[in-house]
């Protein structure tokens, strides 16, 4: 026993595995490869942002950000388009959030495994695979033609609702699934009903991942083009002001404007405007991401009693 405890100064030859060196080299190469892969994601993003900045920077001015677009002369702005992007985003969230929240909560918390849940899941997955241009044609048919709303903000928002409902529902389900089962057990063990448990314990704990998910989906809504061209239209309102809250007026968003100026505009500075629009779109989405993440963190702290 005592002998076994003596410390040897050198490692005996037989303890060194004969392939240790080669395995270490392979390990180092693998680490390097993984690092390069991860860094290239960051690199690509930076390159992309830089490119858009260089291209679009000269187009940006106060006038460009708030001014009206021009039909045939240079110097048009994207003010109403920025407004419409946010307006349609908010309308879409108003339609999407309650439905997806309730449906997601039902699937995650209430329905056990069974036929109804399978059917809902299958429907959501199928809906999620419908290309946005197909959804746009559906919106064109239903809102623009059958209901006779013409191109309108609300028609665009409802089309985007169909498009994003499955993703939002999935977000809700995942956020609820991330709440530890022990919280539910504790609540039910105290004699709470399922509804009380959902409202007072599960939802407040899910607010962080919920917010993150809503932000990601919002980014997609903000940048969506195909679904809006035939439903919300590719021109701004002809009302008293191009900044128009009437949901039944046509409402071109920034992303659609980017497409339409490049594609069919008569203005001489179309490329310039498209570059500027792209930069504004990107910056908006980035700001939106950061703000909502901060808000999500604050909400989490508040609802978990840490603030």
């Amino acid at each position: 026993m005592a002998r076994a405890l003596t410390v040897r100064a050198t490692v005996p030859e037989q303890l060194v595995s004969n392939n240790a060196r080669s395995r270490r080299i392979v390990d180092q190469i693998a680490t390097a490869l993984l690092w390069v892969a991860a860094s290239s994601v960051v690199g690509l993003l930076l390159l992309f942002v830089l490119y858009l900045f260089v291209q679009g920077y000269s187009a940006i001015s106060w006038h460009f950000l708030v001014g009206y677009p021009q039909a045939a002369t240079a110097g048009g702005g994207v003010g109403p388009e920025i407004f419409n992007s946010f307006y349609i985003l908010i309308l879409t969230l108003i339609f999407t959030l309650p439905i997806s929240l309730l449906a997601g909560a039902y699937l995650q918390e209430y329905s056990g495994p069974g036929r109804f849940r399978d059917i809902v899941q299958f429907s959501a997955e199928s809906l999620a695979t419908v290309p946005s241009i197909v959804m746009a044609l559906f919106g064109l048919l239903v809102f623009v033609q059958i209901l006779g709303w013409h191109f309108s903000a609300i028609g665009g928002a409802l089309t985007l609702t169909f498009l994003n409902l499955p993703a939002m529902m999935r977000v809700t389900q995942q956020a609820l699934a991330s709440v530890p089962a022990t919280y539910r057990e504790a609540s039910m063990g105290l004699g709470a009903t399922k509804w009380q448990t959902l409202l007072r314990v599960v939802l407040p704990s899910a607010i962080g991942p919920m917010t993150t998910g809503v932000v990601l989906v919002s980014g997609r809504i903000f940048g969506e083009t195909a679904a809006l061209i035939f439903t919300a239209g590719a021109s701004v309102s002809y009302g008293a002001s191009a900044y128009d809250f009437n949901p039944f007026h046509t409402a071109e968003t920034l992303a659609v404007h980017l497409y339409s100026t490049q594609r069919e505009a008569l203005v001489p500075d179309a490329t310039q405007i498209a570059n500027g629009s792209a930069l504004v779109l990107l910056v908006m989405v980035l700001i939106f991401n950061v703000v909502a993440r901060v808000v999500g963190r604050q909400l989490t702290l508040r609802f978990t009693g840490k603030a």
Binding site: P180, A186, G191, T193
Partner: protein, 262 residues
């Protein structure tokens, strides 16, 4: 009828009565025909090797299996003579009267105060003065008040594991149950926190009926008045703790007590 553990105790009344209970997970029969009397205002320990079904049995006592898909309980479990599995009985009411403390401390991600008053609030108490009183009373009863009285509105998640578990006990006490079920409440705690929980259980039995699952025979011997031994889903033997540990009637109990099993 069980004999009293000591001469001073007056005649025992059964708080809960378990008759011919089987518990299934799908087709698997986890508990086989269990019968048990749980005496009022005493501590009943459930012991046995891992996987013997003692936790499964415990969760049948306040209908927690209702929440597990595929779990099924047959037979009768009565509380003061009323079958808690009878048609028309609301499991929510059952869990109000029979509280549960879990293996791992599971405070809500809320403040200490909000954790304690959660139960009273969901049962309709909204008077803030009354809630403050309940919080203090429950935290005192759980021997936690002095440690947390200056930080009631700080997050419960910043407490130590032992404090969290006592908070969970306070949270159960706040709804004023009659029976408290504990599923290895000290298994995730260090020895000092464990001894605090054990002292607390000794206090609780003055007012509450306690049923505790434990994997530690020493703990069962220290804190319980009665002990029930489970093996492979069967309730093998029940008796006063001193009888079970010194004069077990069944060979299998004796083997387990003396360390010859599992």
């Amino acid at each position: 009828m069980l004999e009293t553990p000591d001469a001073k105790t007056s005649a025992l009344r059964a708080k809960m009565l378990v008759e011919n209970v089987d518990i299934y997970y799908g087709a698997f029969r986890a508990i086989k025909n269990a019968n048990l009397e749980v005496p009022d205002r005493h501590v009943m320990a459930l012991i046995g090797p891992s996987g013997c079904g003692k936790s499964t049995f415990l969760r049948a006592l306040n209908r927690m299996h209702d929440l597990t898909p595929g779990a099924r309980v047959t037979g009768t479990v009565t509380l003061d003579g009323h079958d808690i599995y009878a048609a028309g009985v609301d499991p929510v009411t059952v869990r109000h009267r029979i509280g549960m403390v879990f293996q791992r401390p599971n405070p809500f991600p809320k403040s200490i105060f909000e954790n304690v008053v959660y139960g009273p609030k969901i049962h309709g108490e909204h008077n803030s003065k009354r809630l403050t009183e309940i919080a203090e009373k429950s935290l005192r009863a759980a021997a936690l008040w002095d440690e947390v009285k200056d930080r009631l509105h700080k997050s419960a998640l910043d407490l130590s594991g032992g404090q969290q578990q006592r908070l969970c006990i306070a949270r159960v006490l706040a709804v004023e149950p009659e029976v408290i079920l504990m599923d290895e409440p000290a298994s995730a705690l260090d020895p000092i926190a464990t001894s605090k929980i054990e002292d607390l259980i000794g206090e609780l039995k003055k007012d509450y009926t306690v049923v505790i699952v434990t994997h530690s025979m020493q703990q069962a011997a220290r804190i319980s008045d009665f002990t029930t031994f489970f093996l492979l889903g069967e309730l093998i033997e029940v008796g006063t703790t001193s009888d079970i540990f010194t004069r077990p009637k069944d060979k299998r109990t004796e083997d387990y007590i003396t360390g010859r099993y599992g």
